[in-house]
Amino acid sequence: MNRKQKEAVIRAVFFSFALVSILILGLIVVSLFREGLPLFRQVSVKDFLFGMEWYPTYDPPSFGIWPLIVGSVIVTVLATLIAIPIGILTAVYIAEVAPPLLKDVFKSVIELLAGLPSVVLGFFGMVVVAPWLQDTFDLPTGLNIVNASLILALMAVPTIASISEDAIYAVPREYKEASYALGATTHETILRVVIPSALSGISTAVILGMSRAIGETMVVLMVAGGAAAIPESLFDSVRPMPASIAAEMGEAPFRSLHYQALFATGMVLFFITLAFNLVADYISNKFKEVGSGTL
């Protein structure tokens, strides 16, 4: 075998390995659609997405996932609102303010937090946060939107903090020097130069944090309470989509309507996370051109 042929073989090997992950992802999507789409022969898309009642085991059953979508969206949005300031300020502190020793400590703690199994966080929500919420606000149950949002925020913080930190770290030193040389203080430099320059990376971080939160299953299964109804207050229980799938899949007979409805719920989740990722990608590309002041 000459050198050219070897090159070709090596290229083919790498290509096929790279292909494996794409292929598997493709197969997952195909099976998701194959199991989910048949539902729409019996239930209209409109009734499915915007139906107010999720009674999959009643006779006749109703498969309206609007309460589940609302549940998912509300815990995700609330979790993001909590996680954004914590995540970004942590990132700023680590990248710009902290002395070297503390910087390392904080970074490792954040990584540790990212590595915590979600079931452990869910457990924490159940045995610590839930009783506390119940006692403090005198609620019938501590397993509710607030609890789920807090725990999801805890999960989104490491994602937001570490990606934002990379973005802040990548802000050219020249910008900061220019700012200091014009008589700006550290906090003025951070607020007016560093954060605006890192904004695309920070936005990407936030969206990836959100997509992590909306797809998270174990936490919402354990602490969101599981009520498939439109919530009236932040202390009501909800049943986000992933929790519904995880809880019911075991009981749904194979290829029954209920089974198909759960797959169709998975499709909705898939499109939401896909949209988040596309937006994140778009933002990070859009701002790339404005890059640094090179020649």
Binding site: E177, A178, Y180, A181, G183, A184, G293
Partner: protein, 256 residues
């Protein structure tokens, strides 16, 4: 010393500077005259940029560095504990080696410093932008695109924008750290003309690797080698009849 005492705006007295254990400057004493251009020359790593950054306390931003000696700006040691480095930097501006406009509009680049210093009011800011850009001979090229990103400008224009941005603070001294080393010859010539013009109003201290540039633009030249100031004199003297052999060797290209 070569300078006239009453014209001194800033002087260093027995300055030693350390990055951690490494001594970057040894016993540097020199005085800079107002409304003159002083060039600092010497081979890479000789400490000339370090000295420049000491003059407006930019070295404060580096961890683990230490200054000994005094730097007197208008008679006051800027390294006294009660001196606010922010105040120092407002009065002693700096232009860097690589053009570094902010990724903001041209207008907002110029107004960044003045706004922080408390200048407000649309008319005042607009007047300031025009004045600064005119001083930096950039006004005619950008007057119609003030709202556009500074990133769209060419390298030479970006560097003049950075000069305009520094001038907008109305500083007393302008420090320039190899301001043309990243520019093409035409842009370099424009900046050199600009320096000639600016010294009527400002005191300029410029670090350069380009000896012709030092000879062209400066009134005084200091030659640095291995962290020490070897020779400091009128530029013409340095370039025609230097007192020290090391200076002569460097200038004639025998090393460096």
């Amino acid at each position: 010393m070569v300078n006239q005492e009453d014209r001194i705006i800033i002087r260093t007295e027995n300055v030693n500077f350390y990055y951690g254990e490494f001594q970057a400057l040894t016993d540097v004493s020199m005085a800079f005259e107002t409304n003159r251009v002083t060039a600092l020359i010497g081979p890479s790593g000789c400490g000339k940029s370090t000295l420049l950054r000491l003059l407006n306390r930019m070295n404060d931003l580096i961890d683990g560095c230490r200054v000994e000696g005094r730097i007197l700006f208008e008679g006051r040691n800027i390294y006294e504990p009660d001196v606010d480095p922010v105040e120092v930097r407002r009065r002693i501006g700096m232009v860097f080696q690589k053009p570094n406009p902010f990724p903001k509009s041209i207008f907002n680049n110029i107004t960044y410093g003045p706004r922080l210093a408390g200048v407000s009011g649309k008319a005042d800011l607009e007047a300031l932008v025009e004045r600064s850009l005119r001083q930096a001979v950039l006004w005619d090229e950008v007057k119609d695109i003030l709202g556009q990103s500074a990133m769209m400008l060419s390298g030479g224009q970006q560097q003049r924008l950075c000069i305009a941005r520094a001038l907008a603070m109305k500083p007393d001294i302008l420090l320039m750290d190899e301001p043309t080393s990243a520019l093409d010859p035409i842009s370099t010539a424009k900046i050199e003309e600009l320096i000639e013009e600016l010294k009527k109003t400002y005191t300029i201290i410029i670090v350069t690797h380009n000896m012709q540039q030092a000879a062209r633009v400066s009134d005084f030249t200091g030659f640095f080698y291995l962290g020490k100031m070897i020779e400091f004199n009128v530029t013409e003297k340095i370039f025609t009849k230097p007192d020290m052999k090391q200076t002569e060797d460097y200038i004639t290209g025998r090393f460096g």
